[in-house]
């Protein structure tokens, strides 16, 4: 690390700790009264309190273990990738934490707890903490005493800490703001799908003409594109992920490395259904980047019977709805339960009834609308990633004093 600016000093973490305490080891119970925070509530340096287990504790225990705003919660023992995760407690109301978390009460005369928490969450600190951990088979452990002695942090004056934390908090606010918008936009898309794909809400210009009630097989047909086998060719193998997961690359293998020598070629705009996972929503439209990739013979490829009469993107969006996943169950023989295989029957699937917008123009407008939603969601996701990256950069500079903030 570069030299610290004047007025900053490197200190051991222990110097700013007033008190450390392990959490409660009581097991949670459904009728518990007091929320107990665990590892699952620490996410990306933040406390997430929408799904908290509950415990029953005595008044005496609550008095001893009740968390105070400004307490630092530190994950001392867990799987190696989770040990060292840290968040700041800032809720109001009664909360306790689980025993594998350590709660540090900080010297408020010396530090702004937000500053300390940001420091713990820098990439540099997380790496250092991983090194401090003693590792057993699937568990890693950081001894709080060692932590207080060995873990160090650069400390400016308290007023500078506050200024720095204020700035980083501003980015946190932006990040959570974009996250909320992203969630709302996703919900909005779901709502639009409910309305537009069922004809409950229609664009003005198309009102009047009734939707077409037909069999799926009236608008699409199954395609066969078997691969002429070549042991020396490198095949790019694709799969469709469950629950709207879309098409994904599995791996690339040479013909001689593949056991079942039966593949099919997929093309942009194919609608793919995995026979084995159909009931779990494994169906999707093939995007351009997978054009020419291969899938196993246990996929059905559907294409419009008449591309001028049916916009396949409609099927792509229908494939993201629970109704169509249920249709896959109806078209499967056997019993639907986790881990049990179903025999998906493509013919039966094509035989099931669907409602389709009557004209290509209406189909196109619906698909364009939903595509716009998808693009917006994608852009927001990129923006979120950029904001996070920007925050990381600011942390690197501000928490080490490389760039100084103006203090009042």
């Amino acid at each position: 690390m570069k030299k610290l600016p004047a007025g900053w000093q490197m200190i051991a973490f222990g110097e700013i700790v007033e008190q450390s305490q392990y959490g409660l080891s009581s097991s949670s119970s459904p009728d518990g009264r007091i929320p107990i925070l665990g590892m699952k509530n620490i996410n990306d340096g933040k406390l997430v309190c929408d799904d908290v287990a509950r415990v029953n504790v005595s008044e005496e225990e609550l008095k001893n273990y009740r968390l105070e705003a400004g307490d630092l919660l530190f994950n001392r023992t867990n799987s190696p990738d989770l040990v060292g995760k840290t968040a700041l407690f800032s809720e109001t109301g009664d909360f306790v934490c689980a025993s594998y978390l350590v709660r540090f009460t900080l010297r408020r005369d010396l530090v702004d707890p937000r500053f300390v928490c940001y420091w713990f969450n820098t990439d540099h600190s997380q790496r250092t903490l991983q090194q401090l951990a003693t590792k057993a088979v699937a568990q890693a452990n950081i001894n709080p005493t060692a932590l207080q002695k060995m873990f160090r942090l650069p400390l400016p004056s308290k007023s500078e800490q506050i200024e720095i934390a204020d700035r980083l908090a501003c980015w946190d606010e932006a990040i959570s703001g974009v996250k909320s918008i992203l969630a709302a936009k996703t919900e909005q898309k779901r709502g639009l799908m409910q309305q537009l794909l069922t004809g409950q809400t229609r664009f003005k210009e198309f009102k009047g003409e009734k939707w077409r009630h037909c069999h799926l097989g009236d608008v699409v047909q199954a395609m066969s594109r078997p691969v002429a086998w070549d042991e020396n060719e490198l095949y790019r193998l694709a799969i469709v992920r469950r629950w709207c997961g879309g098409v994904d690359l599995r791996e690339s293998l040479y013909g001689h490395q593949i056991k079942v020598k039966k593949l099919q070629t997929i093309r942009t705009g194919d609608f793919l259904i995995s026979h084995i996972q159909a009931a779990y929503g494994a169906m999707a439209l093939v995007p351009e980047e997978f054009d020419g990739a291969k899938v196993s013979e246990l996929y059905t490829i559907l294409r419009p019977k008449d591309p001028k009469a049916f916009d396949i993107r409609i099927l792509g969006y229908l494939g993201q709805t629970k109704r169509m996943w249920y249709m896959a169950i109806q078209a499967s023989n056997g019993f639907f339960a986790e881990r049990l295989r179903l025999n998906f029957d493509p013919d039966e699937f094509l035989h099931l009834p669907v409602n389709i917008p009557p004209t290509f123009a209406e189909q196109k407008k619906i698909a364009d609308t939903l595509e716009a939603c998808d693009r917006e969601i994608e852009l927001l996701q990129k923006q979120l990633a950029a904001l996070k990256e920007q925050k990381r950069g600011l942390m690197q500079k501000l928490l080490t004093g490389e760039v100084r903030v103006k203090t009042k």
């Binding site: 700035r167 501003c170 980015w171 606010e173 932006a174 703001g177 974009v178 909320s180 918008i181 709302a184 936009k185 919900e187 909005q188 779901r190 709502g191 639009l192 409910q194 309305q195 629970k322 109704r323 249920y326 169950i329 109806q330 499967s332 023989n333 056997g334 019993f335 639907f336 339960a337 881990r339 049990l340 025999n343 039966e348 950069g393 600011l394 500079k397 501000l398 760039v403 903030v405 103006k406």
Partner: protein
């Protein structure tokens, strides 16, 4: 007096297994354990009676003996568990046990003949050479001396001891013995459901052609409130057949006729050269049995396979056809527990299925929850055939989602059983639960009976309030605009 629980009996039985473990196949040693349990039960009942009469006749030995001789069964002197236990250190203990069992059989010919035929306590092959064998038998006798194991009727009550212990042992060995032997024990509540669905009446003849330990048969019989019914069964596995006989005896079904042999290749319940007919036929058949005897089916003496010969590696329809052929014409009912495959498999099975539907024999298809059976998560269905159907429609019930969840094995609760039975009796469509299908609808589905094609259990998702979402987005955008302004200011200040 504290009643012994099934868990405690299971505990003793499991401990007794330790005595055998590692030497012989669990499929065999469970028989030794169950026979010993039966002997213990007989001895405890006998002791109970003896004490009762001694009290009544104030110790008059002769009168006590005379009275005991008129009991349901006779336990000859010296053949009881306690005498054998006292002799547990004798060098020929295996032989002593065999002799005792033989005498018990002789003294109760009508009821217990052949029951101990399959078991040899002096078997070197099963129990090892003399020294080892004696040690093992001594352990076995001692295991059953556990004082918790008091099986007197006054203590045990009406529990299905043999059946439950058999189920428990099969369950513990399910991975090997149970499946390999094609044996599936029907859990009590599934038997109860099937019994209530078939509702046998006074005077009915009831048959289970794959009776196993007989628990299903007993349950169905017990549905007849006045006790006027007769039970028939056939079981292929010799030792399971013996258990079934013991079980009938324990449940006072002394007149039950249980035959030993393969129901398909060698049906034993024959009357005047024809198959016996029954008012009610039930079975929890071996699922998709391989090598069930297809080679002889074409020339079957009883013409059971006139609708077609099921595939040789899947015996489900062979059992179904047998059951249907043995049901009384015009009124007989058949209830079978089968795997889901019978609903949709094609080929010969598809043709037989179509014929059964076209003959208007199929009455109901009931999908059961997964995990009801020991040792397998495979979900099952109940098929009900009725030779006296009043309608051409078929009722489909999807009961697969309603059960009591538990870690090892799911269960049907009393309310779930009641709902299925009531729905079957009402024979009406119930939203997301049951569907009354016409023969046309079934034909349109190509005679595929897969339940989701008929019972639509789709739960539509909650509708999104688009106006509220848009308002939220606008508020969030407004807030974010403020934050962005602040961020821009900070970045300018920092000069980065």
């Amino acid at each position: 007096m504290k009643k012994i629980s099934q868990d405690e009996i299971n505990d003793v039985a499991w401990k007794a297994c330790d005595t055998f473990r590692g030497t012989i196949d669990p499929a065999q040693y469970k028989d030794y354990i169950l026979v010993m349990l039966f002997l213990k039960y007989l001895s405890d009942v006998w002791k109970d009676k003896q004490e009762e009469y001694e009290k009544e006749f104030k110790g008059d030995k002769e009168r006590v003996a005379r009275r005991l001789a008129r009991e349901r069964f006779v336990l000859p002197a010296g053949c009881d568990y306690y005498t054998l236990y006292a002799k547990r250190n004798e060098a020929n203990i295996g032989e002593l046990i065999n002799v005792a069992l033989e005498q018990i059989e002789d003294a109760n010919k009508a009821k217990l003949e052949g029951v101990f035929r399959n078991i040899d306590f002096n078997s070197e092959a099963n129990l090892g050479q003399t020294k080892e064998r004696n040690k093992r038998l001594k352990h076995l006798l001692e295991d059953f001396a556990d004082e918790r194991l008091d099986l007197r009727p006054s203590v045990v009550g009406k529990q299905d001891i043999i059946g439950n212990t058999y189920q428990y042992l099969i369950g513990r060995f399910a991975s090997d013995a149970g499946k390999k032997g094609g044996e599936f024990y029907t859990p009590g509540e599934v038997s109860e459901l099937l019994a209530k669905l078939l509702a046998p009446k006074s005077g009915n003849r009831i048959c289970d052609p794959t009776s196993g330990s007989g628990s299903l048969l007993i349950q169905v019989g017990d549905q007849v409130s006045d006790g006027n019914f007769s039970l028939y069964g056939q079981e292929m596995n010799g030792s399971t057949w013996a258990l079934c006989r013991m079980n009938m005896f324990l449940h006072h079904k002394d007149s039950a006729r249980i035959e030993w042999g393969d129901t398909i290749t060698n049906p034993k319940l024959i009357e005047k050269d024809a198959l016996m007919k029954f008012d009610v036929v039930v079975a929890n058949m071996p699922f998709s049995l391989d090598k069930w005897g297809a080679e002889g089916a074409e020339a079957d003496k009883y013409h059971r396979f006139h609708r077609g010969v099921p595939p040789k590696s899947k015996g489900d329809y062979a059992f179904l056809c047998h059951m249907i052929e043995t049901a009384v014409e015009g009124t007989g009912k058949v209830g079978a527990i089968t795997p889901h495959g019978v609903l949709f498999r094609g080929g010969a099975e598809g043709r037989i299925r179509q014929a059964l539907i076209e003959e208007n024999l199929l009455e109901a298809v009931i999908g059961l929850p997964p995990g009801l059976f020991y040792g397998t998560g495979i979900p099952a269905v109940i098929l009900i055939f009725n030779k006296g159907k009043k309608t051409k429609d078929v009722l489909f019930i999807d009961a697969s989602r309603e059960f009591v969840e538990s870690t090892n094995q799911n269960k049907l609760g009393a309310e779930h059983i009641a709902k299925i039975v009531a729905t079957y009796k009402a024979f009406k469509t119930v939203d997301k639960y049951a569907y009354r299908a016409t023969p046309q609808e079934i034909a349109e589905n190509d005679y595929n009976l897969n339940i989701p094609r008929y019972v639509d259990t789709f739960e539509p998702e909650k509708m999104v309030d688009l106006k509220a979402v848009q308002k939220e987005i606008e508020t969030l955008e407004g807030e974010l605009a403020g934050v962005r302004k602040q961020m821009a200011g900070y970045l300018k200040d920092l000069g980065v």
